[in-house]
Amino acid sequence: METVHAIELKHITKRFGKVVANDGVDLALNRGEILSLLGENGSGKTTLMNMLSGIYLPDEGEILVGGQPVSIRSPKDAYRYGIGMIHQHYKLVEVFTAAENIALGLSGKDHDRKTIAAQVQAISDKYGFGIDPNKKVYDMSVSEKQTVEIVKVLYRGAEILILDEPTAVLTPQETDRLFDILRAMKADGKAIVIITHKLHEVMAISDKVAVLRKGKYIGTVNTADTNPQKLTEMMVGHAVTLNIDRPQAKYKDLRLEVKGLNCLGGEGLPVLKDINFQAFGGEILGIAGIAGSGQKELLESIAGLQKAQSGHIFYYPPHPNSDIAGNHVPVDKAGEELVGKTPGQIRKVGVSLAFVPEDRLGMGLVGGMGMVDNMMLKTYKDNPGPFVDRKPPKALAEQLIEELEIVTPGVSTPVRRLSGGNVQKVLVGREIASTPTVLMTAYPVRGLDINSSYTIYRLLNEQKMKGVAVLLVGEDLDVLLELCDRILVLCGGQVSGVVDGPTATKEEVGLLMTHVGGGKEGERHA
């Protein structure tokens, strides 16, 4: 006897112009099951789920809900068929309460606030969400906001829930709590799809795993019958080693010293509070924290892009015998103060800072220009005279294309048209080519496929071995723990703790991310 699936996709195809985003995808999910949809960036996961939630229409194929073929034309239709999607970027009104947000967009007059609040409370108790319906969204942490989104779709009667990368912004503890909730919903007979690319989460939560690769449906396997290595091979298409090296450098000398650094953000509120730490050459210092804990401001302060209210950042030149010494004008005094200097002035005194910012095309590169013009972004003034010299940047561009296997139609193709991985290789390549003594990178592998990610890790390790002080802001704690020598944890703009990479645990770092000093009830910032 054939069971009726909660939801079934039959040979779904979606094209955008010439690009086939989904090519003949088949999927089936029963009630009381959790399915992980696994695939690299650009493999078509989100496109597929957007067809279920009524944002796109499939070009070919059929969607069946409860055995009946349906046409989902709008998010409203999706709700009617009991499909609810929790997007990566929450769509909540900050000044409204949880209950008001949940009621938003519902028609009918019988939705007075008290009834809604009571119903929300009921849902919350049933699955153990523990949310307060009358709390304003701006007072909530990221994880609470996510909970509101989940309650919102449940309130609207969703039986099939789709979560798009729900753990990307959560700490390990919050992730565990989310997984408990998902298990409770599964026990209640809901069908759940979770989009992710974190393999250990796939193994922890799901019953089945469906894998997509470049829009093609590769297959569905039972989680019990597979392992991370096998899943990676399905995802990438060939065998890959998942180990990240942590070699030991020859020299380890003090490079940067941050003392009592305070910064104000755009709204005049403190974003960095009394930051103290040291960074060494020949070391990768990881910087962990919930998104928006001051990581961006910290790197930008060092780079001279963020004005400091008070405090010092001292720079110490590398040991004269090390590989990287003397590549530039040497800094003439130990403990060169960087606070109060612009990026241009920092360069002028001989501090060779490389910075790979989070916003690659909005800060690190000029999207509309080709590789050649991007290569000379920091060096265009180096030759005398009023004209730019495009010969050295052109040579550098060609060299990087070869060394890093950058795929581009040509050195003058606007870098905006390149894929995310290639854009990042252009940026990291340029920064490393400047033979830095300090290399700062923010989320260097975000959006990159596995091969490109490993290329970046390799490049960071190479720099470390040369004696460069590497500062790495990351979001994947597993990677930080494998790659970094030490990890600095930020929480609400403060240094919450510094742990040793080889010995620290994820739980330890997770705790520091939410509570200063890892204490029980510290200050908590969303």
Binding site: G17, L57, P58, D59, E60, S71, R73, A303, L305, T342, P343, G344, I346, R347, F355, P357, D359, L361, G362, M363, G364, L365, V366, G367, G368, M369, D373, M376, L377, K378, Y380, K381, P386, F387, V388
Partner: protein, 362 residues
């Protein structure tokens, strides 16, 4: 799967289009402008063939007609070149009108009060420099405020136009007034008038030199590179160590100075005097020229000539076929609309319900 509920027409951003197709669309938009204008002529009871013939012969038919067309094109080209670096920087300078006028005031001061003290060529050089400096300073004011306090440059530059035009009105009726009560500034001494080359004042040579200079400036100099980076992203510029505020002020001074030079050319070469209408809307029309040319200096030559032909042709229509002035304006408007509108079809495509067919017609 055909879905009756999808919208009738959808818009989608295109990838880069092949060059040939881009020019085909531009050609088609031109044809469309001709056809729509023909319809207007028919409605007004004129033969479109006759009307177009009149426009062509009136603007290009005789050497004198060509000279007049060129005279219209000169300030358009010069001003389009002046605002190009600002627009490349995404600094929306719509104050060229005021900067032209400021330049004309600076040049006129020397034309009126120094004509007898300086030898001919030196007088013209001093007038040109004064025009450039006055225009440049007038452009520097909004740039300074933008760089220091982040004021909105669009409104600021626009308002500056009216102030400068007001200043000229005051000069006309006050300190620089010629015959008392005339409200007119006297004609310049002949030494302060730009000499003619091939029958047109030599401003055309100046703007052609400016064209080449601007091309080189934007493409091959460090300053041109800085302007392009800031236009794409100020954050990137700061990241690269550029002093964004200083570059904005420097570029606006340059832009204003070029507009001021145009003011000198118009006052000295074309009008031989200063009056409050010296800019005559050129500062605004030049925005269209710069935009249509996509900030390419050489394309600006063609576009400003084209606008010259349209304006001179429309003038001839008025005198020869007695078409009302408003109709001439409408014809010019139709051409501009079609030319600007076709860029939309180059950047976007329309998708009709039930298919992925492109709508190629205009």
């Amino acid at each position: 799967m055909h879905d009756p509920h999808s919208p009738l027409i959808r818009l989608a951003k295109r990838d880069a289009m092949p060059r040939g197709q881009v020019w085909a669309i531009r050609g088609a938009s031109f044809v469309a402008a001709f056809l729509i204008s023909a319809l207007i002529f028919l409605l007004m009871g004129h033969s479109p063939v006759e009307a177009y013939g009149t426009m062509i012969s009136g603007s290009l038919g005789k050497p004198t007609a060509i000279r007049q067309t060129v005279r219209i094109a000169i300030p358009l080209l010069g001003t389009a070149l002046a605002i190009a670096p600002c627009f490349k920087m995404r600094f929306w300078n719509i104050g060229a009108e005021g900067q032209i006028t400021a330049g004309a005031v600076g040049a006129s001061y020397f034309a009126l009060f120094w004509a007898d003290k300086l030898p001919g060529p030196a007088l013209l050089v001093v007038m040109a420099i004064a025009g450039a400096i006055c225009g440049g300073l007038w452009g520097l004011v909004p740039a300074f405020f933008k760089a220091k306090w982040g004021t909105n440059e669009t409104l600021f530059t626009l308002m500056m136009n009216y102030i400068m035009i007001g200043v000229v009105k005051w000069l006309q009726g006050g300190p620089w007034e010629g015959r008392p009560g005339s409200q007119i500034i006297p004609q310049f001494d002949s030494a302060a008038v730009l000499p003619k080359v091939l029958g047109v004042h030599c401003g055309w040579i100046i703007v052609l030199i400016m064209t080449v200079a601007m091309f080189v400036y934007m493409k091959y100099t460090k300053q041109g590179y800085e302007i392009a980076v800031i236009g794409e992203s100020e954050n990137t510029a700061r990241y690269a160590g550029m002093n964004v505020g200083r570059i904005i002020m420097r570029t606006m001074f340059l832009s204003g100075a070029m507009a001021g030079l145009v003011g000198f050319i118009v006052a000295s070469g074309a009008d031989n005097t200063l009056h409050s209408g010296v800019a005559a809307g050129v500062g605004f029309t030049a925005i269209t020229v710069a935009w249509l040319a996509q900030l390419n200096p050489f394309a600006m030559i063609a576009i400003s000539m084209l606008l010259g032909i349209l304006e001179k042709g429309a003038d001839t229509l008025q005198t020869r076929l007695e078409v009302p002035a408003s109709i001439s304006d409408i014809i010019t408007g139709i051409f501009l609309f079609c030319m600007l509108g076709c860029e939309f079809f180059i950047n976007y495509r329309l998708i009709l319900r039930g298919g992925h067919k492109e709508v190629a017609k205009q």
